[in-house]
Symmetry: C2
Subunit: 269 residues, 2 copies
Amino acid sequence: MSTPHVFDTAIALQPQGDGVFAGSTSPAYANMIGPFGGITAAQVLNAVLLHPDRLGDPIALTINFAGPVADGPFTIRPRAARTNRSTQHWTVELLQGDEVLVTATVFTAVRRDTWTGDESQMPDVPRAPEVPVTPRHGVEWLRRYEMRFLEGSIPAKWDGAVRDESLSRMWVRDHPPRPLDYPSLTALSDVFFPRIWLRRATFVPIGTVSMTVYYHADAAQLAAAGTSHLLIQAQGQGFGGGYFDHAGQLWDEQGTLLATTHQLVYYKE
Amino acid sequence: MSTPHVFDTAIALQPQGDGVFAGSTSPAYANMIGPFGGITAAQVLNAVLLHPDRLGDPIALTINFAGPVADGPFTIRPRAARTNRSTQHWTVELLQGDEVLVTATVFTAVRRDTWTGDESQMPDVPRAPEVPVTPRHGVEWLRRYEMRFLEGSIPAKWDGAVRDESLSRMWVRDHPPRPLDYPSLTALSDVFFPRIWLRRATFVPIGTVSMTVYYHADAAQLAAAGTSHLLIQAQGQGFGGGYFDHAGQLWDEQGTLLATTHQLVYYKE
């Protein structure tokens, strides 16, 4: 018997009956305080995927980080608010005790063959093996990813120099490599360090408030991506009043757009 | 007594007690079938704004169109899933009878003075008065907006010619003019005709599944915008398997970024 991948262990959930699932934060994906938001998002999606009533594959997910998830056990309660012939709308809550710490909505559907034509094109960049692995420092969850920055790496100097742009672009995959699926694609949508750090070269406290992922990859495209690197990028849009947002894209090595994502982030000062 | 603006009449809600609100679809904002999604989003947001427990201003909204809203009355049920010191997470449902037709999450917060520096810059375009008003055809809700297209107007010929890009850019405001507020900014985030029509010059059936709005404007910025035109744009990202998404931005006449928005849209064929 092979040892399960650390990601699979982290997102494992135990059905409690009545469509409730029990899980636990994973020390392997610890952030500065509490868990990496991407692993929480993957756990929330996994609860929907494991639900016996689930119809189709994930198409859209929005997760709201409402309060600090403490290290330890939690429950996830997915509920099918509406089921149509080939689509389904889920609302999900993650709780510790009686406290709601996460709210989410997930849209699943049976995909159909239609006209296809991605508009967001993968930029022309060196292939992953030609780009050196960026050394990982800091929080534990970063060690679960192999990142190869092409542009917009974390500031080398925290000297407060303001930049007009905050585009980050990198090759990334799970470390150790793991075949891509919807939960891991979800977690990969949240690996971007906060754009405000890049704009300001200042280490201000931050926290993701809301993240949305639109899944463009079908099961065959996920299987084709396998354990290869994804090219991912994100860029900030608006910054003010304590919140900024970014928009991002994720492609496989062949340039297929697998997902788009955006998030709203709190920052102090 | 002055007659209320048609938009105010459309988003009016009657509190039913227990935090439930009653409303009705508005013939003035009718779409091909059922209401314009933007007016539904404005009604959902308005239910949160009217709730006596509401804390702060809207920062993020995600609305999921789960089923067809029929012409007539509905109820909206906002619930504060979590209230922190200066932030609040709402989950909302819109129902007709027992049927859930909309799910939504709304994040509100008290804004603070922080570093500000918008990254999404308004493009260099002619001022609104220099751009002719685009003639409005078709569905009723379009008559509630004054649109002045700069780029990416609805195809003049439905000849099936495929385009690589689907950027639309226009000046827009309520018609008749109305001072901007969070509900109208929400509705304005949904006035883009579907990007798939622009890409393919083919009239395929569509329906928005999910829309997110991040509000960057505070109350003072909304007041400053007043009844002036907004410059808004949207561009498609991924198209395939029956769904596409777009990303958009809304600026006031002075180039202040008021909101960013994304949506996922179903299409047939």
